[in-house]
């Protein structure tokens, strides 16, 4: 099956590994990720101000495109997923934002939040199915792996509806599917602090060390994430406490697909 895909700025540059492995694995699992035309950067952070409209338009354009191309929009980067999913909720339930955004865009038909925003992990779980992945694995990863969710995938849970915000399980289930042993640790849903790195270099250092120390204490041998910024922060500021990889890299390894 084909599914409209929104890669985002970082996946075309510093996080090519995430993009490339995700596409190869999807193909191996029977899903074709069709990159949408003329996508623009989502802005990488959801603007909460109630009068913010222009900053949400690129997300709305992508959503509207997907509406006419299968009705689903696949995301991979945690930040893109957060921005696009929250903007979609605005378009669905906030009459003021919906009116003003449509007033800007002048689409043939107003966009009202019809598109379903799907994270790659949700696609693996709900479209492909973890059982199917388990069957497709050629090289089970007999390692202890810690899932790092961070903040963007989970919160605010009322809108993201991704998983239980305090006790998420989807990445753990994914780790099991690729033959690994998931290690749950209390800081897997805590923010790594990377967003303020340019203003406050110390805070992300402390937070990333805390995350990795927590994972190591509970027995993890490596940590996986879906967020390029978390990966950067945990790798650069994490003192090498544990190796950090994109979850798709491990999926590629388990499925035996070569980049």
């Amino acid at each position: 099956m084909k599914i409209s895909y929104y890669p985002g700025c970082t996946l075309k540059t510093k996080a090519k590994d995430l993009d490339v492995t995700a596409r190869l694995c999807a193909k191996a699992l029977g899903v074709e990720m069709e990159e949408i035309e003329n996508w623009q950067c989502c802005g990488a952070v959801y603007p909460m101000g109630t009068d913010e409209i222009a900053t949400k338009l690129s997300a709305v354009r992508a959503l509207d495109h997907a509406k006419h191309n299968g009705g689903k929009l696949l995301t991979l980067c945690s930040a893109c997923h957060n921005v696009i999913k929250r903007t979609n909720e605005d378009m669905r339930s906030n009459e003021d934002i919906r009116f003003r955004a449509n007033n800007y865009l002048k689409l043939d038909e107003p966009y009202k939040g019809e598109t379903e925003v799907l994270h790659y992990l949700e696609m693996l779980k709900n479209v492909v199915g973890f059982d199917a992945i388990k069957k497709a694995v050629v090289k089970p990863l007999n390692r202890k792996i810690g899932a790092y969710y961070g903040c963007l995938l989970l919160r605010p849970s009322g809108v993201m509806a991704f998983d239980n915000p305090e006790n998420p399980t989807i990445i753990e289930d994914f780790i099991r599917a690729i033959g690994g042993t998931p290690v749950t640790y209390p800081f897997r849903n805590e923010c790594c602090g990377a967003y303020v790195a340019l203003k406050n270099a110390e805070l992300p250092k402390q937070k990333s060390r805390k995350v990795l120390t927590s994972a190591k204490e509970k027995g993890a041998e490596e940590v996986i994430t879906a967020c390029p910024l978390c990966l950067y922060n945990l790798q650069v500021n994490g003192d090498g406490i544990l190796p950090v990889k994109y979850f798709t890299e491990l999926l590629a390894e388990a499925l035996g697909v070569q980049a």
């Binding site: 990488a44 109630t50 602090g193 967003y195 303020v196 950067y232």
Partner: protein
Amino acid sequence: MTKEERIENIKKLSGTDVRKCMKCGKCSGRCPAFKDMDIKPHQFVTMLGKGKLDELLACKAIWNCLSCMACVERCPRGVAPAAVVEAVRDTVVRMQGNNGIKAEEIPPIVDELIPQQLLVSAYRKYNK
């Protein structure tokens, strides 16, 4: 704009009802940036309610809030402290010359691994 109007404007921009706060402090009990917040998450809510505009606009905390939504997620009263922080920050950076990051500051601190996501989001959060 009078001080009262500015306060009302911040309230509107935040989209949150500060009167719903019961001052339990759960937001500050969870904030991962607590030490770096000179005004704590619960104080943003109470100070906005009391109209302490000057203190809010002058604080450092607006640059250190991670927007991680931990405070929003756990508030038992449906208040969004992070949205108040952002409304204050928006109010500050929308004033001429108040951008949080100057372009010339960037090159020295950028290493080649820094993802675009960080630069884009910093500009969006701190600058207008």
